[in-house]
Symmetry: C2
Subunit: 252 residues, 2 copies
């Protein structure tokens, strides 16, 4: 049995999220069906973590154990020819038998993209949340810094979470701006990158929904530390739309 590890990129627009569901139409269902078509094996794959319906992945990591003898270098192309065009295996490698895509992960990075131009970009509309009014990025940066470190993130977690602990560590969080020109100070793209040891349900989207209220001037950046302390989901902003979110990188 080999333990195969693959980097997977997907456009989540058409899917009910990563994790397998009775109704099907998930990324996991499609990949497992492609593996079964290719090898005849019914295998449950493991991912670095689920992504919600509509959320994308630049580099999701999966692993699974197989007794198939297909050479390593043939796996990506063989699976891609059996997958829909919005899911692609970017790379395949082998790992120690102990490697586990979720448990072995050391840090994960998500990116959330906000387009602040007056009119959305038709070509990237499935990847960008359109917010055509000015956001105070410096205030958002200030607010974001309050989240760095080990905290109980209950305030920024769906109330449906069943996790026994909401303590997670954010190693790094930053905002990168992409302006079309130096003059266009109130337009362009805002990318929010958050890197942590793990994320709770809707955590990045609730953080971004709250940051947008800070950017709009509806909240003071100093509130961020206060509501984090309170461990109360009601004190945070709304859950930002799924389509702006992308699983960016997983480090092992």
């Amino acid at each position: 049995m080999r333990n195969l590890v693959m980097t997977v990129s997907y456009d989540g627009t058409q899917y009910f999220g990563f994790q397998s569901q009775p109704g099907g139409n998930t990324i996991q269902d499609r990949i497992e069906a492609a593996i079964e078509q290719l090898t005849g094996e019914r295998i449950a794959i493991t991912s670095s973590g689920r992504t919600d319906a509509g959320v994308h992945a630049r580099a999701q990591i999966i692993n699974f154990h197989t007794s198939s003898l297909i050479p390593l270098e043939r796996w990506a192309m063989a699976l891609n020819s059996r997958l829909p065009p919005d899911i692609r295996i970017m790379e395949a490698r082998t790992a120690d038998p102990q490697f586990h895509a979720r448990r072995s992960a050391k840090r994960k990075t998500y990116r959330y993209t906000i387009n602040t131009n007056r009119v959305p970009d038709v070509f990237q509309r499935h990847l960008q949340f359109h917010h055509p009014t000015r956001l105070d990025v410096e205030a958002m940066r200030h607010a974001l810094r309050a989240l760095i470190g080990e905290h109980d993130f209950t305030t920024f977690c769906s109330v449906k979470s069943t996790k026994p602990s909401h303590v997670r560590t954010i190693f790094d969080a930053e905002i990168v701006e992409e302006r079309e020109s130096a003059a266009s100070s109130s337009s362009g793209l805002i990318h929010v990158f958050v890197t942590g040891n793990g994320f709770l349900q809707h955590m990045v989207r609730i953080i971004v929904g709250t940051l947008m209220q800070v950017g709009e001037g509806k909240r003071d950046p100093s509130e961020m530390a206060v509501i984090l302390q309170a461990r109360n989901r009601k004190l945070a902003g709304p859950t930002a739309m799924a389509h702006g979110l992308m699983l960016w990188e997983v480090v092992y």
Copy 2:
């Protein structure tokens, strides 16, 4: 009557091209329907030129004459709220009564994008032709230079063309490479930009289909001038897939 000029961006994936058709589902049909909903006027809009089914536009230009009194600054948002999300009015302005989006155009630029990475980019798959084998870009540049100037482009024109003259001028043609890293000399994106005073049916796509054969080493770059002289469509390469093509800019 005001003569309104608008810059329109569209993702052509779902449409049967720009120009109105009895079957509907064209960019023109959607824009005219939105204008009628907004103003009650049934107006035929003029564009800088049709684009084929599946071809995109970053900045198509349209104009139309209207007696509507809606203030200029409200048009873009008012039409966008009545258009599907893959068609956006980027900007509206007024022009002299004589301005005509096609006849007044001085130069148009098209971009064709080829992705030479091993695996396609799921997020840009609707905008990039995937060609996962190495292309000799220097040979393609050499071949492309033969097209600059005023020529009869019958070789690079659909045999279905009904145009009385196939003489057009290409002012500029260049290839811009986007590499992910200096080391990845056989992967990345290749953008072919072609600027001319007008384009024949399938002209850019046939040019690119021929350039790809040059890039693959199936043709010598010096053939380009020879087949251009011959005015024979059969001597050129295949018509490249529509989805890699985008109307980039129109200059007046």
